[in-house]
């Protein structure tokens, strides 16, 4: 649950430093960010600006080198690996640029995966997978393998996998990066529909057209937030 203000994510002074061969790379500096429940936020910026690093920290795939991070009111910067895994599984849904579907698993099994790791019962899994796939319009391809689907279809399945566990927030990393413009548009429409139905979405993109789909846009440059805009259509 979000706190009383509806804040789902709060970052204060978050930074990330990478050390390679005695060289310090400051990927993120002094990130202050608040995302409220139901918001659709895009993180934009040029290549190497720290977009994906920020997303990985937001998604608990990585931990910050400094600063504080609260997810749903809970400080998560210092959590153990297993705690982060648990939170990732239950409260965050990921959509990746490369879809990241598992080739040896069917559409159904791919979508079922987060629920399997959560330990949900078979009946619950079946119902939720079915619902998720219906939401993305892929319920008719349950038994197909990823290699039998187009790129757009694969990303729809990936969205279903992100949705299936009813997460607090969807994290999308360049969700259209591997798609042609038609399929890219379709996926963005899907995300907009999900947002309209209440989903909180945090999306990384370098494409301004798709950044405009969000109701709030953050611009990163050299690891710092340089600009933040509210899109007028977002409240429509």
């Amino acid at each position: 649950m979000a706190d009383a203000n509806g804040t789902l994510i709060k970052m204060e002074g978050v930074k990330k430093v990478f050390y390679t061969d005695e060289v310090e790379t400051h990927a993120l500096e002094e990130i202050h960010l608040e995302i409220k429940k139901g918001q659709y936020i895009s993180i934009a910026g040029p290549s190497g600006c720290g977009k994906s690093t920020l997303l990985s920290i937001l998604g608990l795939l990585d931990s910050p080198s400094g600063g504080s991070y609260w997810l749903n009111g809970q400080p998560v910067a210092e959590l153990s690996t297993s705690e982060r895994t648990r939170i990732r599984n239950r409260e965050i849904g990921f959509i990746f640029q490369a879809f990241n579907l598992i080739g040896d698993l069917t559409v159904y099994e791919n979508v079922e995966l987060p629920l399997t790791y959560r330990g949900s019962g078979a009946a619950e899994r079946k119902q939720k997978v079915q619902n998720a796939l219906e939401r993305v319009g892929m319920a008719h391809r349950l038994r197909h393998y990823p290699s039998q689907l187009s790129g757009g279809q694969q990303q729809r399945v990936a969205v279903a996998r992100a949705l299936v566990g009813d997460p607090l927030i969807l994290m999308a990393d360049e969700p259209t990066g591997n798609l042609d413009s038609k399929n890219g548009e379709a996926v963005m429409e899907l995300l907009r529909d999900l947002h309209r139905n209440g989903a909180t979405i945090c999306m990384v993109t370098h494409d301004q057209r798709y950044a405009n789909f969000a109701d709030r846009s953050i611009h990163l440059f050299d690891g710092r937030i340089t600009e933040e805009t509210q899109e007028a259509h977002a409240s429509a």
Binding site: G59, L61, Y117
Partner: protein, 805 residues
């Protein structure tokens, strides 16, 4: 390209070297023992005539001299036929008395073999006649005892107290018989034409005793005659003899078999079994290498794509990959050859193993050809599949995506999995086979020979007929000798026996049971031993009923016999055999006598530890002084420490009698199982190496899989997979392959278990405990092999899910 991947090349070459080295070693043994022709001209024409008991189809019985002589005379299909039997001699008159192992041969032996002495001449046909004493020396005796005297031919030497004329010296590389310890000399069968000096004059010489089967034969087929034709001819002659001499030749046929079979027929299935085992090992090594090649092929697809884009034809690339795999296998073969040279030398110097011609095992041209062939074949066969797989890629994605997972599809991983399953299943077969053999060995070792072999020393003395031919003289000699030996400090008991248990010497005779008349040819048979009265106490053979022999069982007393339990059970079931009478053909002079059974003793495994005891009868030496006895002494000390005192006592009685073949009875027991032990341990080693290779293969595939699946694992972790989930995922994959291999291996073992049946003792080829044990062992080892990659998998960083390139 191989030089750029030294680690990969080293692992592949070492794996192949292990497989090729072991295979080549065993092949060099098979080559020496089974494949090399006999070292005589036209060896394919050499055959052996053997007796066949038509009642039980028992092949390989020795022939009597009259039967041999009749066969030689009547055969139209044999160009020549010679007979031979071993004979011990005491050589005196040229230094210290020396015991030498010799062979008594019919004069035409050297004609049959087409062997020519290096000095002097071979025997002439007239030198088989009675009272002819001629000898041919071995090269080694000629050198060691006679200083390589070039004028030795025509000179007399003293054997068994009698003068023999040396007629020739054989070349250094001549050995006959091939399956026995090297002979020091050869004499003719003239000694069979006369009765033992001092024996009653109505005795027949051995050359006239058709019931005395003791001769081995070697013959040469007439040119153009097949073995089958000669075999039929021989059987027809035997049928005529059976009609003519029903008492002695009833139920007796004769047949021919290739001489090479007579020499190595028994060991052939065993060696072929070992060769099969080592072939499995080679296959495991090859599968391992194929897997390495497959993994490497997957990482080289970008390289292949670039080559194709530069215009290289796929056939050309296939050639390059095959060249690399063949180079690998040739390098492995070369290293394997070094292993084989070492292994073959090791085998050839093993003293305990009695496999014929093993000592001549060497890496010759045929073995080299074998290694080369195996190396090329493995290089092509196991390089082909990975090479073809390496070429199955889509050019554009391979170039664009840097080769990562470009075509890493199901067929790749399926082939790798199949190879691992194949390895595991072969390993199961090897492990079960070796386990069964080793368990059999344990059962055999646990078998009691029927006497207590610890603390027993045995040795032989050869009493020359010329001085001890009369039974009374040899009886007196042994009585006095045993008295002296009992007086040696540390000797608890002393006795003597002929033949000694587990010495490979055996005497079998027919006997008549009083009140149960049967035709002479239908008389039952018993193994027979002539013993000193203290024998059972010295050997700790338990008396089951009746009494042991004593001083009252003298030569002129009541004729007595003691039988073993098997004899009693077989011939007197539900009866008390004590007091019954039998008449075995064991008289040392005059007609056989009816003997009273005065005792029953425990069974002794006289022939081998793994054969059921045979009906056995013991007669006091005083009443059956049929030859020289082996002396046995019991002590609490180290048995061999008694030898100096023993030699002193024997020398004091007769300075011309050398003590020979001094051995502990523990040594006899060990020697009797040495071959089986060697084979079992060898198979055990192969199975161990096979298991190691299979597990290394599994480990390699799982490690590779984890490396290949890093991205997928990262995705799984990103969507919430816990460490345990990842651990289970990887273990499940590895164990699925393992279990598939185990199941196939178990089924395969059931299919070929009959191969093992003849080599097993005390355990069935389908022993469920062994099957379960091997399956559990393999599953456990495989689990350990999968665990490390699985643990590594749990450390995959979920961040990899975000990395696209």
């Amino acid at each position: 390209m191989l030089a750029k991947s030294p680690g990969f090349a080293a692992v592949a070459i070492l794996t192949l070297a292990l497989g090729t080295g072991a295979t080549t070693t065993i092949f060099s043994v098979v080559n020496a023992v089974l494949l090399q022709p006999l070292p005589f001209p036209e060896p394919n024409r050499l055959v052996s005539a053997v007796g066949i008991d038509t009642r039980n189809n028992e092949h390989g019985r020795a022939l009597s001299y009259p039967d041999f002589a009749d066969l030689r005379k009547q055969s139209r299909t044999l160009e020549s036929l010679a007979a031979f039997t071993d004979a011990d001699f005491t050589l005196t008159g040229a230094g210290e008395p020396l015991h030498v192992a010799g062979e008594m041969v019919s004069a035409d032996l050297f004609t049959v073999l087409r062997a020519t002495p290096e000095l002097g001449r071979a025997f002439t046909s007239t030198e088989d006649q009675a009272e002819t004493r001629v000898v041919i020396l071995s090269h080694s005796l000629w050198k060691s005892r006679f200083g390589a005297d070039p004028n030795i031919a025509g000179k007399p030497i003293r054997l068994e107290g009698q003068m023999y004329t040396v007629v020739g010296v054989m070349p250094a590389d001549f050995q006959f018989p091939l399956d026995a310890e090297p002979r020091a000399l050869w004499v003719t069968t003239a000694g069979l034409m006369t009765i033992t000096p001092g024996a009653p004059s109505d005795d027949k010489p051995l050359s006239e005793q058709r019931g005395a089967h003791f001769l081995t034969t070697i013959g040469r087929l007439q040119p153009g005659v097949t073995l089958q034709q000669a075999d039929l001819d021989t059987a027809a002659i035997a049928a005529g003899l059976e009609k003519q001499f029903p008492d002695t030749d009833g139920h007796l046929s004769m047949g021919l078999r290739p001489q090479i079979d007579a020499l190595v027929g028994d060991i052939r299935p065993v060696l072929l079994m070992v060769l099969g085992a080592v072939a499995f090992l080679l296959l495991i090594a090859c599968a391992n290498t194929a897997n390495l090649l497959l993994a490497r092929a997957a990482t080289r697809q970008r390289e292949m794509a670039i080559r194709v884009s530069m215009g290289a034809g796929r056939a050309r690339i296939l050639r390059q990959l095959l060249t690399e795999s063949v180079l690998l296998s040739l390098a492995g073969g070369a290293l394997g050859l070094l292993i084989a040279v070492w292994g073959t030398r090791l085998f050839a110097t093993l003293q305990v193993v009695q496999i014929p011609r093993l000592k001549s095992a060497t890496v010759d041209l045929r073995v080299l050809g074998f290694t080369l062939g195996v190396s090329l074949l493995t290089g092509v066969i196991f390089g082909l599949a990975p090479a073809i797989h390496a070429l199955r890629f889509d050019l554009f994605p391979s170039l664009k995506e840097g080769g990562r997972n470009a075509t890493e599809g199901k067929s790749h991983s399926r082939l790798r999995s199949l190879l691992v399953i194949f390895e595991v299943s072969l390993s199961v077969v090897l492990l079960i086979g070796a386990s069964l053999l080793l368990e059999s060995m344990v059962h055999i070792v646990r078998q009691s020979p029927g006497f207590d072999p610890h603390g027993l020393l045995s040795f032989n003395i050869n009493l020359p007929d010329v001085r001890y031919g009369q039974p009374e003289k040899s009886i007196l000699f042994y009585q006095q000798l045993l008295e002296r030996l009992r007086g040696i400090p540390g000797v608890k008991n002393a006795s003597a026996v002929l033949p000694l248990p587990l010495s490979e010497d055996n005497i079998r005779t027919t006997f008549e049971i009083e009140g149960r008349p049967v035709a002479k040819s239908d008389e039952p048979r018993t193994y027979f031993r002539s013993i000193d009265p203290d024998y059972f106490q010295t050997m700790h053979i338990p008396l089951v009923a009746g009494r042991e022999f004593s001083a009252r069982d003298a030569r002129d007393g009541v004729q007595v016999v003691i039988v073993n339990q098997t004899f009693a059970r077989k011939f007197f079931p539900n009866e008390n055999p004590i007091g019954k009478h039998i008449k075995p053909g064991v008289s040392d002079s005059g007609p056989d006598k009816m003997r009273e059974i005065v005792g029953v003793v425990g069974d002794v495994k006289h022939r081998t530890l793994w054969r059921d005891p045979d009906p056995e009868s013991y007669v006091p030496y005083d009443q059956a002084a049929i030859g020289g006895l082996a002396v046995v002494l019991r002590t609490d000390a180290n048995p061999l420490s008694l030898l100096p005192a023993v030699r002193e006592q024997v020398h004091a009685m007769d300075p011309e009698l050398p003590v020979y073949a001094p051995k502990t009875m523990d040594d006899y027991v060990s020697a009797s199982i040495a071959d089986r032990k060697f084979i079992s341990i060898l198979c055990g080693v192969f199975a161990g190496v096979g298991l190691l290779l299979a597990v290394v293969g599994l480990f390699g595939v799982m490690s590779y899989t984890v490396a290949q699946r890093t991205h997928e694992l990262g995705v799984r972790v990103a969507v919430g997979a816990k460490k345990l989930d990842i651990l289970q995922l990887i273990l499940r994959q590895g164990m699925a392959m393992t279990f598939a291999g185990i199941v196939i291996g178990l089924i395969g073992t059931l299919g070929i278990s009959r191969v093992l049946t003849s080599q097993l003792f005390g355990i069935k080829p389908t022993d469920p405990l062994t099957f379960i044990g091997v399956a559990v062992l393999l599953a456990g080892v495989a689990l350990a092999a999968c665990y490390l990659p699985a643990r590594r998998a749990t450390r995959v960083d979920p961040m990899v899910a975000l990395r696209y390139e």
